[in-house]
């Protein structure tokens, strides 16, 4: 019997190792800036986690490649306890900056950070540094890109019914959805925006049926936020409905129907955080990525033939939000 338990535990351990080790920690020579990031989903989720990973890769290129700037990551840390263990491990290994990329990691970080006063931590999306000197906070004003997407969605819709597929009614997702709604209604007050929160960040099948539901209810333009929307985009494509993306550029999934995506460029916050760390400040500040500071960019899909009028309206809206002439009222 002993043999069996040994075998079973071997399988369990092996598979855990396989699932946990997205990135390998390599031995670093001196003076390299070392960043570790813990993320709730995969680095290529075309959404929240990818937005951070892509930003880190862009910073790495700016700073001269892997020899100057090291990135390690733990992805799919959906279980907060596992994420907390990973955050602690990275801090123990002496990384210069440990990023907890998910608001659900906040309370863990609040406990861990005081144990490592020489390590800098960043977490998001939030504005709360817990008043601790070694925690940075970052968030995105996702209602801004949501508003721009909403204005365009209302302009392009002919049925005046627009569908939204969301995960859970909180945080970044709620901001985006509320901003989107405000954008639609500011453009077409009579339009209907149907919102569906499916209660999951990973249930691709349910996201797909949510999209089918919107289409059956008459929607000809859809949007959605979080990584499970890849299921919804496919359904939009089948029905030839238009799609607006957020978090990462989703054009590659359905080049014919994706009009534009709001993309987070966290490097705006990361650059400042890194220079502060180099200057000796390990935390205590919070950053907001928005359209004005370049932390959010509306990326248009070049394969979608957007009319010149609509493009001009989008640019005007972006400009208005940047200079403050358009204010977004959230519920």
């Amino acid at each position: 019997m002993k043999k069996i338990y040994w075998l079973v535990s071997l399988i369990v351990v092996l598979s855990m190792v396989l699932s946990a080790c997205g990135g390998q920690a390599t031995q670093a020579p001196e003076k390299k800036f070392r960043v570790a990031v813990v993320m709730p989903s995969a680095i290529n989720d075309l959404a929240f986690s990818q937005s951070m990973y892509d930003a880190l890769v862009r910073i790495q290129q700016e700073m001269g490649g892997p020899d100057k700037f090291e990135i390690v990551y733990s992805e799919n840390m959906f279980v907060v306890d596992d994420a907390a263990a990973a955050i602690r491990d990275y801090a123990t290994q002496g990384y210069d900056l440990v990023i907890a990329h998910g608001s659900q990691y906040g309370s863990s970080l609040q406990e861990i950070a005081p144990d490592f006063p020489k390590t800098s931590f960043a977490w998001g999306t939030t504005a709360d540094t817990f008043g601790q000197p070694n925690i940075f906070a970052y968030e995105a004003a996702s209602q801004e890109g949501g508003y721009v997407n909403g204005v365009l969605a209302a302009t392009l819709s002919t049925s005046d019914v627009i569908g939204v597929v969301g995960p859970i009614e909180t945080g970044d997702a709620k901001l985006y959805v509320d901003g989107f709604k405000a954008g639609v209604l500011a453009t077409k007050p009579d339009a209907t925006v149907n919102v569906n929160y499916i209660g999951s960040f990973s249930d691709t099948a349910l996201a797909a049926e949510a999209a089918n539901t919107h289409i059956a209810a008459g929607a000809d333009v859809l949007t959605g936020t979080a990584q499970m929307v890849v299921g919804a985009i496919g359904k939009a494509q089948e029905a030839n409905a238009l799609w607006f993306g957020t978090q990462s550029n989703q054009s590659s999934l359905a080049p014919k129907i994706v009009v534009a995506s709001q993309v987070y460029h966290w490097e705006v916050a990361l650059r400042e955080i890194i220079s502060l760390i180099k200057a000796g400040t390990l935390g205590g500040k919070s950053f907001t990525a928005n359209l004005a500071n370049g932390g959010e960019v509306i990326e248009f899909n070049p394969d979608y033939a957007l009319s010149a009028d609509a493009k001009a309206l989008a640019d005007k809206t972006i400009q208005g939000i940047k200079d403050g002439s358009i204010t977004i009222t959230l519920p």
Partner: protein, 310 residues
């Protein structure tokens, strides 16, 4: 607004969505029914689905051949089943624990393979909708039942087939005997090991198809962890369905229909908080389970390793 729920569009929408959502549950839960009927609890369904899902997607993505993708998913599921059978039948491992082991293996392996072979989320053309002549022209009914893809039809055909095999064939009798009283079955010359190998491999194959139904028929993408706990719900549906294929069908449909109902409730703006709406399928399933569970009995030898007494 509540009355909006009774409009034809909404009813068709709810039923058509429910039929599709139930598809992966049906494959996985019917497969699990065979295993449990023979006395083996397989908690690795989710892992088998994930690997099957990835295998089907990857092969289809590379070759463009959906049937080859499906076949690969079946093979991968069968191999996972074979390994599970070896661990539980030959090594007499504790079934719950080894099932979790296989789940974690499938989860980790599918992520690793996705990461190294694909690297990013892609889409494919999945199995197209097959409109069954004449029947698909019936208003309403046609759209709900006869305009789905081939794997959806397969899932529903599987139910009577599984019922027939379990209740009307010698093989089914052997499976039930091995699950109820393996010692007696053994003394009558039925090989407990062979029967269990068969059911676990069959279960794995069907879980593989369940995964494929998501990645190459219903959603046409693969994303890490995309089964999202469906394999575990499938195991629960076997208990819910009292180890009968038709009961499993009832459970899968109930769960899926309530799920599509709650999607419509939100879309129609019926003032129920989304958090409550998304709980509905789970709450209802638990309530029905509580109300019915006392009437049914699990196979006597379920999750007990069989050791021959000489």
């Amino acid at each position: 607004m509540i009355s909006d729920l009774l409009s034809v569009t909404v009813l068709i929408g709810i039923l058509a969505s429910g039929i599709r959502l139930a598809t992966p549950y049906l494959y996985a839960a019917i497969g699990e029914t065979f295993g449990q009927k023979s006395g083996v609890l397989n908690l690795g369904v989710e892992g088998q689905m994930l690997l099957g899902s990835f295998a089907a997607f990857y092969v289809t993505f590379k070759t463009g051949n959906l049937w080859l993708g499906l076949l690969t998913a079946m093979l991968v599921g069968a191999l996972m089943g074979l390994a599970m059978a070896y661990v539980t039948v030959n090594l007499h491992a504790q079934q719950g624990i080894s099932g979790i082991g296989f789940y974690l293996f499938g989860l980790g392996m599918s992520e690793l393979l996705f990461q190294s072979l694909m690297g990013s989320v892609e889409t494919i053309q999945g199995f197209p909708k097959v409109h069954i002549p004449v029947l698909s022209d019936i208003p309403g009914i046609g759209e709900i039942f006869f305009s789905q893809n081939v794997l959806v039809y397969g899932a529903y055909l599987l139910v009577p087939l599984a019922w027939f095999v379990l209740n009307k064939t010698t093989l089914g009798l052997k499976i039930r005997a091995v699950g109820e009283n393996p010692d007696a079955a053994d003394s009558l010359g039925v090989s407990v090991a062979r029967v269990r190998y068969f059911t676990i491999i069959l279960g794995g194959t069907l879980s593989g198809i369940a995964g494929a139904s998501l990645s190459i028929a219903l959603l046409n993408v693969f994303q890490q962890g995309m089964t999202s706990g469906q394999g575990f719900i499938a195991v629960a549906l076997v208990y819910f369905g009292a180890w009968r294929p038709v009961g499993v069908l009832g459970g899968a449909l109930l769960f899926s229909l309530v799920n599509s109902l709650q999607l419509w409730i939100q879309v129609l703006g019926i003032p129920i908080p989304s958090d409550i709406a998304v709980m509905m399928p789970y709450v209802l399933t638990i309530l029905v389970l509580v109300a019915t569970v006392s009437r049914v009995r699990a196979p006597s030898a379920l999750s007990k390793p069989f050791e021959r007494e000489d």
